[in-house]
């Protein structure tokens, strides 16, 4: 299903306001200091449109950084388990996502449905409607075009808006979910004629390499010295993983209080030293080089092989977040050109 509409710039907020009224939760980029983050918004005015992208990805809408899996209560030798209630999962509109945010849910969904179908994730994800805005700007960290995406890529979005000029914004309705949002305020929209050329207004993001190059190179790169060379400055913090739209590693923890408690799932990162530490003391990934290799391999080799999808959307968040400027695009380019 695909429908092309036009909305006048000044009616966008009218529409958004309507959405805010009707949908329990609307998440949109909000300015925080010099950067922006996805936050729940209560009025249309608070959306930050002038940033290229947010610091953190929107994955937390379906995969919160801390969530309860279940709670328990002990009575003598008896233990009672309680599930998380349905009504914890809110219908949510993600407003002004970027194409690279939208595609991020692809890999996530595959990971959480690989063998075990993760109820909590699926419940949350099924309630998401993604309204993304095509990019007219990009920075030196962006590389979506190198990983099969693009500034106007519609994959994963339910609606995509593209600002054609100061008056008109092209609205591509991509799913029924999206359609429903349009219906909230039909008269904001008019049909768009086919002459409108979306591509011309999109940001230009140079292609630095292709996923296939990387995938092919990685097949022979396991023992390569490049991992040590690239990871030397890596501090082993989790910033990259935590802002990444597709990183799904988590830790399971117990929050026990006497005879009752809960089991908690929280984000983790393969960059941490203890991530693979065994009780025996042995650590299969003893150095930062091996952990960096794992990060790249996982996204560009293991995931395509096992899940038939790449684990990178080219959003460049990890590069922006890194305290020591581990620019992933730069590194991947080296790998691609590595002999």
């Amino acid at each position: 299903m695909m429908e092309r509409l036009i909305i006048k710039s000044d009616s966008i907020n009218t529409w958004l306001s309507k959405i805010i009224e009707t949908v329990p939760r609307v998440l949109a980029p909000v300015k925080i200091g010099s950067k922006a983050e996805f936050k729940e918004i209560k009025d249309a005015g608070s959306v930050a449109y002038d940033v290229i992208t947010t610091t953190s990805s929107i994955k937390s809408a379906a995969f919160p950084n801390t969530e309860t899996l279940f709670t328990y209560e002990k009575q003598g030798l008896e233990t009672k388990l309680y599930d998380v209630a349905e009504d914890n999962f809110l219908d949510t509109v993600i407003w002004r996502a970027r194409p690279c945010d939208a595609v991020g849910f692809g890999p996530l969904t595959k990971i959480f449905n690989w063998d075990y179908k993760d109820k909590l994730y699926n419940e949350r994800f099924s309630r998401l409607v993604v309204v993304s805005f095509a990019c007219d700007k990009a920075d030196e960290c962006c590389f979506c075009t190198s990983v099969g995406g693009g500034p106007g890529n519609t994959a994963g979005s339910d609606i995509m808006l593209t600002k054609i000029n100061d008056e008109d914004t092209l609205v591509e309705v991509l799913t029924d979910k999206g359609r429903k949002l349009i219906d909230l305020c039909k008269d904001c929209f008019t049909d768009a004629d086919d002459s409108i050329d979306k591509e011309s207004v999109l940001a230009k993001v140079p292609v630095k390499f292709t996923r296939e190059q990387i995938h092919e190179k990685l097949a022979k790169a396991f023992e390569s010295p490049i991992w040590k060379a690239q990871s030397e400055r890596c501090l082993g913090c989790g910033a990259c993983a935590f802002v990444c739209p597709t990183c799904a590693c988590f830790d399971i923890q117990e929050d026990a209080h006497g005879n009752h408690g809960r089991r908690v799932r929280c984000w983790d990162s393969c960059g941490f030293t203890l991530f693979t530490q065994h009780t025996s003391g042995h650590n299969p990934r003893p150095t930062q080089a091996t952990r960096w290799r794992q990060r790249v391999m996982h996204k560009f080799s293991y995931m395509p092989d096992r899940l038939d999808i790449y684990g990178c959307t080219g959003c460049g968040r990890c590069s922006r977040a890194c305290p020591v400027d581990m620019n992933i695009a730069e590194h991947l380019k080296n790998i691609a050109n590595n002999e």
Partner: protein, 667 residues
């Protein structure tokens, strides 16, 4: 799943009067990990204890909580009971329901609920307690006594007579200390030398005593039962194996004008000398400061005359190290010199002397052979003034304390003077006369009544010289502060007893504490008067505070018993409440990163460095902290300081305390 037994004691009525013990036991039985809970009238009684023992066997308990009186009271009792039933004693803990609940709260709901909470807290702790074993430390069966005064002599003899080895070190050339300088002793007026010298000889001859004179403690390492003492044997320049003590050298020595320390500067000695005729060992040593050979490079007269060729000039100081089990410090005291007192002439008047100097004048072995003659011209003083509390009890002089012995020896001095100079006239200026002690008051009365010593209550403002006489200006506070002025031929100052020079330094060497006046501090002023805060080191005599002879001897024997009771044990058994640095699987080996900031935290220097080496190559992989179980006293300050939580303290582990605190609050 643990199996804890909870035993709530009524303590007769003491607890049950305000706490509903049955209910506490009942809710305890519902607590997680509790396998058995009951209450009983007297838990500490025999039936009470067997109740616990039986429960342990019957229910295979792996932990016991007794809700009773304070752990300071019966923790040992119940822990013993547990171990008798085969349960590790450290898996038994006390919930203090008496001192901390029933005795301090009114009867009521809240009180019972608090009792339940406390039990819950302790249960959670015990669930995490680990079995511990008392620590056994070997003991070196040898005592070190520092200081050869009467205290050191007494302590050494007592220990030696118990069949334990003793090393006695004395910094001077002879043992005997101040007591050997005294003439007669109060209150019996028996001759000091006569009662002391036999003891000195006994020390010298005792098979269990090794005596080192002219020796000082250089270093003390280690811990209770296992000290390592480094002793400096100062070169005597005389080979005692060859020397027969004939004394020819001392008669020949050309340096004859050296003020004798033994005579408090009132007599003279030679450069090679024995301090006094009854000295032990009775062999000379060369005083390098005054010896021509050492100072000018030529002389060697003594060597020329020595019939046995015992003189050895160029022998350096020697150092020996000894393994020691216990240490007794008996380094004694000193008295202020006259030059301390501007108002009494800064010591520039020859005939203003200290009490100790007077002892020498009065002593048969002294410079005047026991006749009271004044230093300036050797005349017999007809009028003599004694001033007590010189420095003592005078905060302005920095000595707020009472020197304790002066009242008595001043009375004695006056008495001796009257006995020796029958037409003499003696006056004592005093603040109070403190004559507490067996026959002391009677003694003072005798001085006043039989020997007509004139006691004037008041301080002396000044002593100055006026045409050959000493003028003593003071007030008589009993005669409504009437100023008095006395012409005297000699003035004797009862100067304050003070800590020896270097006391502070010595204390630091041994890690024992000392008071602001550098007297060594006892562990407890009443209940641990001869112990120090450092286990295995004891105190006796005037190094703690001024003491008279009976007191000194008593404390010496006390310290000796403490040392012997330590040395007579096969091994030293200590509570295993000590810190431990964790060890874990390689490649980490320990979570300790070896920053060693805990080293500065530890009051006992118990933190050691351990190098973890590669088994094959022997290469050092990592240096981590290690706690010396002998030194650690278990304060746990390092535990809460350690950033990586690599140190923990047995019996109060992080896990245990965390669990107890959170349990108190969990509903």
């Amino acid at each position: 799943m643990s199996k804890i037994g909870v035993f709530i004691c009524h303590c007769g009525e003491n607890i049950s009067a305000t706490v509903d013990c049955e209910r506490v036991a009942k809710s305890a039985s519902e607590m997680e990990g509790v396998a058995f809970a009951t209450d009983y009238k007297y838990m500490c009684s025999d039936p009470g204890q067997s109740l616990i023992k039986n429960a342990i066997r019957e229910h295979h308990l792996d932990g016991v909580v007794v809700g009773s009186c304070s752990p300071r009271m019966h923790e040992p009792t119940f822990r013993r009971a547990c171990s008798e039933a085969g349960l590790n004693p450290y898996l038994c803990e006390i919930a203090n329901l008496r001192e901390h609940v029933s005795w301090v709260h009114e009867k009521g709901e809240a009180t019972t609920l608090k009792a339940i909470d406390i039990v819950k807290g302790v249960v959670e702790k015990v669930r995490r307690n680990k079995p511990l074993n008392a620590i056994e430390v070997p003991i070196t069966k040898k005592a070190l006594v520092i200081g050869g005064g009467i205290a050191g002599i007494q302590a050494s003899l007592d220990i030696a007579n118990c069949g334990q080895k003793v090393i006695l070190i004395e910094k001077g050339p002879s043992i005997g200390g101040h007591m050997s300088q005294l003439s007669e002793t109060f209150p019996t007026l028996d001759c000091s030398q006569c009662i002391l010298t036999p003891r000195m000889v006994e020390v010298a001859q005792h098979p269990n005593i090794t005596l080192y004179t002219y020796a000082e403690l250089d270093k003390l390492d280690g811990f209770i039962g296992n000290f390592k003492a480094t002793i400096r044997l100062k070169a005597k320049s005389v080979d005692y194996n060859k020397c027969t003590g004939c004394g020819l050298c001392t008669t020949k020595c050309p340096q004859k004008k050296i003020p004798s320390e033994f005579n408090e500067g009132l007599g003279l000695r030679t450069a090679i000398f024995t301090p006094f005729p009854q000295a032990v060992p009775n062999k000379p040593a060369i005083d390098k400061e005054h010896c021509n050979y050492y100072q000018k490079g030529k002389c060697k007269v003594c060597q020329k005359f020595c019939p046995t060729g015992a003189i050895e000039y160029d022998k350096p100081d020697e150092f020996i190290t000894e393994d020691i089990g216990a240490v007794i410090v008996t380094t004694g005291f000193n008295v202020l010199k006259t030059d301390f007192f501007p108002e009494y002439g800064y010591g520039k008047y020859k005939d203003v002397i200290t009490g100790l100097q007077f002892e020498r004048l009065a002593s048969a072995s002294g410079p005047t052979l026991g006749e009271i003659r004044r230093p300036s011209d050797g005349q017999i003083p007809k009028k003599i003034v004694f001033i007590s509390c010189c420095g003592s009890r005078d905060p302005a002089k920095g000595i707020p304390y009472c020197s304790k012995i002066c009242c008595m020896y001043t009375a004695k001095h006056a008495m001796l003077y009257q006995h020796k100079v029958h037409d003499g006239e003696s006056t004592i200026f005093y603040m109070d006369v403190r004559a507490g002690g067996k026959n002391y008051e009677e003694f003072v009365r005798r001085a006043v009544e039989e020997d007509h010593v004139n006691y004037v209550r008041g301080r002396v403002a000044r002593v100055y010289e006026k045409n050959g006489k000493l003028i003593v200006k003071g007030v008589d506070t009993l005669l409504s502060a009437k100023p008095v002025e006395i012409e005297a031929d000699m003035v004797v100052l009862a100067t304050a007893g003070v800590a020896n020079k270097g006391a502070e330094e010595l204390a630091q060497k041994m890690h024992i504490s000392y008071d602001p006046y550098h007297f060594f501090a006892e562990a407890h002023p009443k209940l641990k008067p001869v112990e120090t805060n450092t286990a295995g080191i004891f105190l006796a005599g005037a190094c703690q505070s001024p003491k008279d002879i009976p007191e000194t001897v008593a404390s010496a024997s006390g310290a000796a018993v403490k040392a012997v009771s330590l040395l007579s044990q096969p091994t030293l058994v200590r509570e295993p409440i000590i810190a431990v640095v964790n060890r874990c699987a390689p490649p980490m080996f320990s979570t300790c990163v070896g920053c060693f900031m805990c080293e500065t935290i530890c009051p006992y220097n118990a933190i050691e460095h351990e190098e973890i080496k590669d088994r094959r190559t022997g290469k050092v992989i990592k240096t981590v902290a290690k706690i010396n179980p002998g030194l650690c006293q278990g304060c746990g300050t390092c535990v809460s300081f350690c950033r990586s939580k690599s140190i923990d303290i047995q019996g109060y582990t992080n896990e245990e305390m965390f669990a107890e605190v959170t349990a108190l609050l969990n509903k």
